[in-house]
């Protein structure tokens, strides 16, 4: 430890709160260091001078503490009472207003419904009145209905018939294509045979494989 570290630890040593080991090291250092001894002496003097500050003598009045606290609680109680009275008055006024206005508050679905006064008159329910029967109009309507029904049936049949016809045509085209393929096969074979015969006639049977 150097002198700066020692001097920083001196105040704690002076008040007797340095750990034994550290205090022992400090004492050893102080024994051989006049500067640090001087610092310790100056600090001791400062410590002594701190006691020169006078301290006031007080005598508290415990009764006054009780009294002040009681007073505070009384004020608090009065405040609460005033608040309670105000809240009661507001509640009473609200109830009165609700009664006078015939107020209705309810929660309906996701809505808060606030309604006052008498409930509004519901609109008269519209009931289909049986109209007078007109035979001509009825007959015309029935005729239109028949036409529409036939039209719908016709459309349905047309669509179904068209589908069947197209399927049939497709089948036929497929058959024709197969026939053509078959005929083409025959014709190709025949051409090959003719070519082989012609080759044999011109060049003779020496060309092996040509007749095959």
């Amino acid at each position: 430890m150097n002198c700066i570290e020692i001097q920083n630890a001196l105040p704690v040593l002076l008040y007797g709160e340095l750990e034994t080991e550290a205090a022992k090291r400090l004492e050893e250092h102080l024994a051989g260091c006049p500067d640090c001894r001087r610092e310790l002496a100056a600090l001791k003097l400062t410590q002594k001078r701190l006691d020169a500050v006078p301290a006031p003598a007080v005598q508290l009045d415990v009764g006054r503490i009780f009294q002040e606290e009681a007073q505070r609680r009384l004020v608090q109680l009065r405040r609460w009472r005033r608040l309670a009275l105000a809240a009661a008055a507001v509640a009473a006024a609200s109830i009165l207003v609700a009664l006078l206005l015939n107020l209705e508050v309810r929660v309906e679905g996701h809505q808060l419904v606030l309604r006052w006064g008498s409930p509004p008159a519901l609109p008269e329910r519209i009931v289909d009145q049986p109209s007078e029967v007109n035979p001509e109009a009825t007959a015309a309507l029935q005729a239109q209905l028949v036409v529409l029904t036939q039209l719908a049936q016709g459309l349905t049949e047309t669509a179904a018939g068209r589908d069947a016809k197209q399927r049939k045509e497709l089948t036929q085209i497929r058959d024709n294509v197969r026939d053509l393929q078959r005929q083409l096969g025959y014709r190709l074979n025949s051409i090959e045979r003719d070519q082989s015969a012609l080759y044999a006639a011109v060049f003779g049977p020496s060309k092996k494989g040509a007749t095959e």
Binding site: L10, Y15, T46, R49, V53, L60
Partner: protein, 193 residues
């Protein structure tokens, strides 16, 4: 019959014994007034603030639990009262004199008469003013350790600060006081190494 401990008195008071509270006030009024006086740099506030401390003790009495030492709990309340008072004083000083930096707008100690005599009263005034010059945290540690004899560990607990920090603050405060006293002509008379 032995002396009833502070914690037992608190318990009695919590059960409704008003005389127990009166006994606590009687025991602690002087240390608390002294602490406030030194922490706030003198003045006439100590008595009123001491009353405020015990009023807060009265109000918070039901919250006291014996796990903590009564003195720790009490000094914590006193520290809060002192801080509130200092804050109010600072605000008042700032309103009256916006340029003032010192918490209590103390007169310049260098303007005091030189060390003509070593009268205790004069020295007391100087030291009191030098205490007020210290930063608040340093002053708190010095006042608690020197005047109230609260150990560094206990100060660490009641200020919720590491003990090593408390010791550093204390050393800085004492060394600063020593230097300032010397500057003002209150140096050592005969210090023999």
């Amino acid at each position: 019959m032995g002396v009833v401990s502070d914690a037992e008195l608190m318990r009695s008071w919590q059960r409704g014994d008003a005389s127990a509270f009166a006994e606590l006030v009687r025991r602690w009024q002087q240390p608390i007034a002294r602490f406030l006086h030194h922490q706030l740099g003198g003045g006439d506030l100590a008595s009123d603030l001491c009353q405020e401390v015990f009023l807060r003790v009265y109000r918070a009495g039901s919250t006291y639990r014996a796990e903590a030492a009564f003195s720790t709990w009490l000094y914590r309340i006193a520290i809060n009262v002192a801080r509130d008072a200092a804050r109010k004083q600072r605000a008042r000083t700032a309103r009256n004199d916006p340029g003032a930096n010192s918490a209590f707008a103390l007169p310049d100690v260098r303007a005091l008469p030189p060390a003509r005599s070593y009268e205790r009263q004069e020295l007391g005034e100087v030291v009191g003013r030098l205490l007020a010059e210290l930063p608040e945290e340093q002053r708190l540690v010095l006042v608690l350790r020197h005047y109230e004899e609260v150990s560094f560990e206990e100060i660490a607990r009641l200020t919720r600060t590491p003990a090593s920090t408390i010791k550093s603050r204390f050393a800085a405060a004492l060394q600063r006081l020593r230097r300032r006293l010397e500057e003002l002509g209150w140096g050592p008379e005969e210090i023999c190494p």
